[in-house]
Amino acid sequence: MNASLILLVEDNPGDAELTQRALKKSNVGNPIAHVRDGAEALDFLFRQGAHADRAPADMPRLVLLDLKLPKVDGLEVLRALRADERTKLLPVVMLTSSDEEQDVVRSYGLGANSFVRKPVDFAQFVEATRILGLYWLVVNRPPPAVVG
């Protein structure tokens, strides 16, 4: 496992850059890998397709997963991760615009570790990102590495 890599799964490039900006502003200095849809996220995590030659040790420390994604949506990605030995313990934070109760319930039901709604106000977003980074990258003890 890469000690510090964060995988950001987000289809909107503006949103992705904004999230990276917020992470940077909240002093989260970890490297960030960005994929644009659910299918690419699965390729990346399972080292297949375009990511077939990625090193097994490159497993991210944290996945920031949007719900609404092209090709394979966030919940499908989550289901696939939890069904696989290599990723079933991987910390996944749902990072999304929605706070519909059914989305929250289904995400937790499929094994999400956390559900964070992105605030419209950028200042609040930066604050949310800071807390998120602090908790998942500093406070939280990650699961032991599973090398597939």
């Binding site: 909107n12 503006g14 949103d15 904004l18 900006r21 917020a22 719900l67 609404k68 999304t96 615009s97 929605s98 706070d99 519909e100 109760e101 059914q102 989305d103 992105k118 605030p119 419209v120 106000d121 950028f122 200042a123 977003f125």
Partner: protein, 633 residues
């Protein structure tokens, strides 16, 4: 035996015998003969009671006479019995008795019985001699006597008859007639109703009483009665309906003494029958014309479930005729394997409960449709049946499906609003700030100000989207009734507000607990909004105070949130709760104008009311009630 009896030694006996011989002349009827004999026997033998009976075979008549016996007991004696039997039937009043047959040659015509109340009265030879002599005189006299037609016997019994009439025929009349079709007795309030009376009838024949056409009309029935037959007729007279029975009156031997006409006023019964027929016709019409299917089913036993009655709607609904349904089992309409809870429902119905439900049914052509039913147990006489009403709810089910579709669409729409509308806003806001931070050197004062407007507007729009989503969620979500503590919910809301506005010092006054019944999640939204408003509108006061509590208004529990803030003009009180209605400019107080609309919708969904009271510069109080019945129980 016309000779003077030799052994008779008492003077009394002798005198009695002489009197009998003297009085038994030839111009007597049978009853007079028996009366004379009985009287002389009582006198000559010193008896407490005497019974003399005789019968005649052609015409078949009977007569009785007695001393010391009441008329009813006498009427009950069988005139054709022999002396010993008669003595036995009088044993309860005559402890000692003896009798002699009234006979001529080998033929016995009657009996003479004498009795004494003492148990040990010795019947002497002298007594026997006198008794036999009197019996012989009686037999001789009877041979020459006239036989009356039973009038006497009927009149003897008239007291008993009278009582029977009064007690048994209060709504009609009874008349008795003899073989000559002469009325011997008439009684009953029904006589006056048809213009007759006892005085008019008694002692007169039907020919004397009635005009020829009437007497001719009734004569046949009367004569039939005298021949032993019963005739019944229903006749209408003077607007009333009578049941008349013309019946023979027989003596204890079965001999016809006369006839009796009993009339019974049926008018009330006829009217009741007409009313019943009309009512039945009405209900039948209701039953047959009802749009709901109505069923009467066998409730118990081997034929349980058999359709005993079904109306046109039942038949139409299922594509059968009524005849095809009646007599068959209701289960022929069931969709196989669907009615899993049917046994439980039937058990509850048999226990006396009225049960509702919805089941699929099959039409004759095999198509299926949903049926809603109500069924319960009814008693009809000694048997119990299931009465069921059912209706085709295809349309309702379709409408519900349409509503469900619309709700799903609305949910999809809300989800899109939540997700897709907020995402661009976030980016606008984020990059506005990025511009302000990263490119500040390239922006002059105006540019910085414009960016500020952009950011303020995006923030407002974000809030608006959130509020509208809440509003739509409130409409969609189900309202639970659970015990909640409004004081605790208000304290939580106040804590969040204090956290968001750390610079504000607001005094919060509320009781330790305000128990209520409602949906905790939704009531949290109500108090968030009301306390949020109170916080917001009291911002310009240094001594801001917010009170939450409950009160009784006309016996109804009312909850309130009161502040001492900017208040509002009561003129506009009705505008407070509309969507996007604002009474203050955004410059004074920010807000989307949706909050109170949310509050009202939640309160309404709790079957409550919400209203406000206030004055500009003094403060505002928002009242609300929750389902008062639920709160009371």
């Amino acid at each position: 035996m016309s000779d003077r009896p030799s052994g008779l030694q008492t003077r009394t006996g002798l005198f009695a015998l002489c009197r009998a011989a003297k009085e038994l002349n030839h111009d007597l009827d049978a009853r007079n003969v028996l009366q004379i004999v009985a009287s002389c026997a009582a006198e000559g033998l010193g008896a407490d009671l005497v019974v003399a009976t005789a019968h005649h075979t052609s015409p078949r008549e009977a007569a009785r006479a007695a001393v010391g016996l009441d008329a009813v007991t006498l009427a009950g004696l069988d005139a054709s019995s022999d002396g010993a039997s008669l003595a036995a039937s009088l044993a309860h009043i005559a402890r000692t008795a003896t009798s002699a047959a009234i006979a001529r040659g080998a033929r016995t015509h009657g009996a003479l019985v004498v009795g004494w109340r003492e148990a040990d009265r010795t019947v002497t030879d002298d007594d026997r001699t006198l008794l036999d002599a009197l019996a012989a005189l009686a037999a001789q006299a009877l041979a020459l006597a006239r036989w009356p037609s039973g009038i006497a016997d009927l009149s003897v019994a008239s007291d008993a008859l009278h009582r029977a009439i009064l007690s048994n025929y209060p709504s009609g009349a009874v008349v008795v007639f003899d073989h000559a079709l002469r009325y011997t007795f008439a009684e009953g309030k029904g006589l006056a109703e048809v213009g007759l009376s006892r005085a008019v009838l008694e002692g007169r024949t039907i020919y004397e009483v009635f005009p020829p056409e009437t007497s001719a009309a009734i004569e046949g029935d009367y004569r039939a009665a005298l021949e032993g037959r019963v005739t019944r007729n229903e006749i209408t007279y003077n607007g009333k309906t009578y049941l008349t029975s013309t019946i023979p009156v027989r003596d204890v031997d079965g001999a016809v003494l006369g006839g009796m006409v009993v009339t019974h006023d049926l008018s009330d019964r006829v009217a009741a029958e007409v009313a019943l027929r009309e009512s039945e016709a009405r209900y039948r019409l209701l039953f047959e014309r009802a749009n709901e299917a109505i069923w009467i089913l066998e409730a118990e036993g081997p034929e349980a479930g058999t359709i005993r009655a079904a109306n046109a709607a039942s038949a139409r609904m299922h594509g059968y005729t009524v005849d095809e349904l009646v007599g068959r089992s209701i289960t022929m309409l069931d969709v196989p394997d669907v009615a899993a809870d049917a046994p439980d429902k039937i058990r509850r119905i048999l226990a006396g409960e009225w049960v509702d439900g919805q089941v699929p049914h099959v039409r004759k052509d095999g198509t299926r449709f949903p049926v809603e039913f109500t069924a319960g147990l009814i008693d009809m006489g000694p048997r119990r049946y299931i009465l069921a009403f059912s209706r085709d709810v295809t349309e309702r089910v379709r409408a519900r499906e349409r509503a469900d579709d619309m709700m799903r669409e609305l949910e999809g729409f809300s989800w899109s609003v939540a997700h897709d509308l907020r995402a661009p806003l976030r980016i606008i806001d984020g990059y506005s700030q990025a511009l302000a931070e990263d490119c500040s050197a390239a922006l002059d004062g105006d540019g910085q100000r414009f960016l500020g407007y952009i950011r303020e507007s995006t923030r407002q729009m974000g809030q608006l989207i959130d509020d509208l989503l809440t509003l739509s969620r409130v409409t969609r979500s189900e309202v639970r009734a659970e015990p909640v503590d409004l004081a605790q919910i208000a304290r939580d809301a106040a804590r969040r507000l204090a956290h968001l506005n750390p610079e504000r010092a607001v005094t919060l006054a509320l009781p330790p607990s305000i128990p209520a019944l409602g949906d905790a999640r939704l009531l949290r939204v109500v108090l968030d909004n009301l306390l949020g408003n109170a916080w917001k509108f009291s911002a310009q006061r240094g001594d801001a105070r917010v009170e939450v509590g409950e009160a009784l208004h006309d016996g109804e529990r009312v909850f309130f949130v009161r502040d001492n803030g900017a208040g509002f003009d009561m003129t506009y009180a009705d505008k407070l709760f509309g969507v996007f209605q604002r009474l203050h400019s955004a410059a004074e107080f920010d807000g989307t104008g949706v909050g109170l609309a949310i509050v009202r919708r939640i309160v309404r969904r709790h079957r409550g009311r919400v209203w406000a009271d206030g004055a500009v510069g003094v403060g505002a109080t928002f009242f609300f009630t929750l389902d008062s019945e639920a709160q009371a129980s």
